[in-house]
Amino acid sequence: MSEMNDVALEANQLVKRFGGLIAVSEVSLSVRAGEIHAVIGPNGAGKSTLVNLLSGDLSATSGSIRVAGRDVTALNPQKRALAGLGRSYQKTTIFANSTVFENVRLAAQAHGGRALRMMGSVADHADINARAHAALDQVGLSHRAPLKACLMSHGEQRQLEIAMVLATDPRIILLDEPLAGMGQAEAVRMIALIRSLKRGRAVLLVEHDMDAVFALADQLTVMADGGVIGSGAPADVRANAAVRKAYLGAHGDETVDAA
């Protein structure tokens, strides 16, 4: 019973069709609070589509999605966000012409209860500003607060995205390839940051960098051609013959063994 209650995010038999093409085929998975659940698979396996289905950016053809036991399948992205689902995008999606602090403050504002107050300046809302500062602190970007977001490095922009997600105080965080395009040093910092996210939250991580995945994941789901071909603890998945054959291929073995 208590195990059931731990499940923060649950997808049941999700299907997404684009015309004749099945991008996601009967995918089921669940993510518990305090756990990082990684979704891996070759390009075109449907991982990003899955994240978009979970966040509501795409609507599912069939299947259901539950957040903390509540069915959110019919909700649009902003309602899912208010239900506790935060996400980052594969390609950095920030307010490029606003400052770093303004970006995070907007995120904090959206979940402040008085998100759309028409009176008073945003600068005067102490709780919003405090939460924004806290989120910036957590990702280590406080020193960048007054800078225009588009002037930061790619890695810092990705950190900013995570700060924005944190400022919305989510129960579940969806990360779509957070390490894409990062240098070595930036990636190391980001991995540490992601690890810190799971405290009290459920994290679903889509990532190509196998080193990072095996360093971070508590649970793994492997996708190929839209469907799930294996899931479980990383060690079990690594041993799974079907996964090795379908996904890891000839040179993939080395990567996994090395990890």
């Binding site: 684009f18 015309g19 004749g20 093409l21 991008a23 990003s48 589509t49 978009n52 966040s55 950016d57 795409l58 649009n76 992205p77 902003q78 309602k79 966000a81 208010l82 935060g86 996400r87 995008y89 594969q90 390609k91 999606t93 920030i94 307010f95 490029a96 012409n97 606003s98 303004e102 403050r105 907007l106 995120a107 504002q109 959206a110 979940h111 402040g112 008085r114 998100a115 759309l116 107050r117 028409m118 009176m119 008073g120 300046s121 945003v122 809302h125 919003i128 924005m164 919305t168 779509d176």
Partner: protein, 351 residues
């Protein structure tokens, strides 16, 4: 511009505006009232266009509807009570904005422009082709609204009194828009303009935010339309036509969309330009049209850009910012650029 020098300019402009009726002949006072009302309309439109990123071509219709409301509410032989007719007129404009906005905001980009234009023209044809508002002849408002409170009354028939009432409305309108822009609501509105997808995923109800801004803007347009109709004593369907909407857009862009007061400056400049051209050239619209076309290419940042070019005081990076704001693809294009994965999946689907 630094904040302090900007507030100095505003203070001086306000002082000049207050002193104007004391020194200028009646004709100029009336002309100034007209210009200020256009300024209020432009400030209202900019809430939607500049801060909301929604290019509306129906604001003339909202403006004109309020004017028609005054005409309907003015009894024969006396002026309408401003306490009744002004709220009623603003309510009519707001309601029209609510209906048009609710439908139009289901669309984006080019669609939004076309749909607002079409609904605006619908109201034009409604008044033009039916007998509701006197058809194409329009309606006369023989007496200006009566502005009484307690035992006293303001005589709006006096040009200078009318002017001061308009000035107060403008100041209140500017104050309202300034407050909104600084508020959490205003920041959410701008966020939805800059990156709709991100705004949604943060949990902002983008549609509701935009519709609210659209209705507030429509209400302010209604205030401007009400006093315009009162000033001219006449309403005709042309008041609702989209050429006026487009002209106000020109004012907004010329004045600069990034500030609350910019459009007011744009309105004064355009009204002044029109007056000068009209009195000097037979084919003034040709020159006017060419100026508008030239503005798109030469002065995309509007008067703000011109000022910084002339003064040469601003650092180059700020000039760039003005241009970037103007040339940045709006809303739909921007979201598309940020949606590679969606594009890719769509492309797959089409194979």
């Amino acid at each position: 511009m630094k904040a302090s020098s900007q507030s100095w300019i505003v203070a001086i402009a306000l002082a000049v505006a207050i002193a104007l009726p004391l020194v200028a002949p009646t004709y100029y006072v009336q002309f100034a009232s007209k210009a200020l009302l256009m300024g209020l309309l432009a400030v209202a439109l900019n809430l939607v266009v500049g801060f909301g990123g929604m290019v509306s071509l129906c604001h003339a219709a909202l403006f004109g509807l309020a004017g028609y409301s005054l005409a309907f509410l003015t009894p024969e032989g006396e002026g309408a009570s401003i306490w009744l007719s002004l709220p009623a007129a603003v309510l009519v404009s707001s309601f029209a904005a609510l209906v048009i906005g609710a439908l139009s905001l289901r669309t984006k980009g080019i669609y939004f422009i076309m749909v607002t234009l079409a609904f605006g023209e619908m109201l034009f044809y409604l008044l033009h082709d039916t007998k509701i508002g006197g058809g194409s002849d329009g309606l006369y408002i023989y007496l200006k609204p009566e502005f009484g409170f307690g035992g006293a009354a303001l005589d709006l028939e006096r040009a200078s009194t009318f002017y001061f009432v308009v000035l107060v409305c403008l100041v209140l309108g500017v104050a309202l828009v300034s407050m909104l822009v600084r508020s959490p609501f205003g920041h959410a509105l701008v966020a939805a303009r800059d990156n709709e997808r991100r705004a949604r995923s943060l949990g902002f109800p983008v549609y509701r935010i935009r519709l609210t801004a659209f209705v507030i803007s429509g209400a302010l347009a209604g205030v401007a339309g009400y006093f315009s109709a009162a000033q001219f004593g006449f309403v005709a369907p042309q008041l609702l036509g989209w050429h006026l909407s487009a002209t106000v857009l020109v004012m907004v862009v010329l004045g600069g969309m990034t500030s609350v007061l910019g459009p007011l400056a744009g309105a004064l400049a355009i009204i002044g330009l029109e007056e000068v051209l009209k009195s000097n050239f037979e084919y003034w619209k040709l020159i006017y049209g060419l100026i508008v076309m030239a503005m798109v290419f030469v002065l995309p940042g509007g008067l703000q850009q011109l000022a910084s070019m002339v003064l040469g005081a601003k650092p180059a990076s700020e000039d760039d910012a003005v241009e970037r704001d103007m040339t940045a693809p709006h809303d739909d294009a921007a979201t598309d650029r940020l949606r590679p994965e969606l594009l890719r999946s769509e492309a797959k689907a089409h194979v």
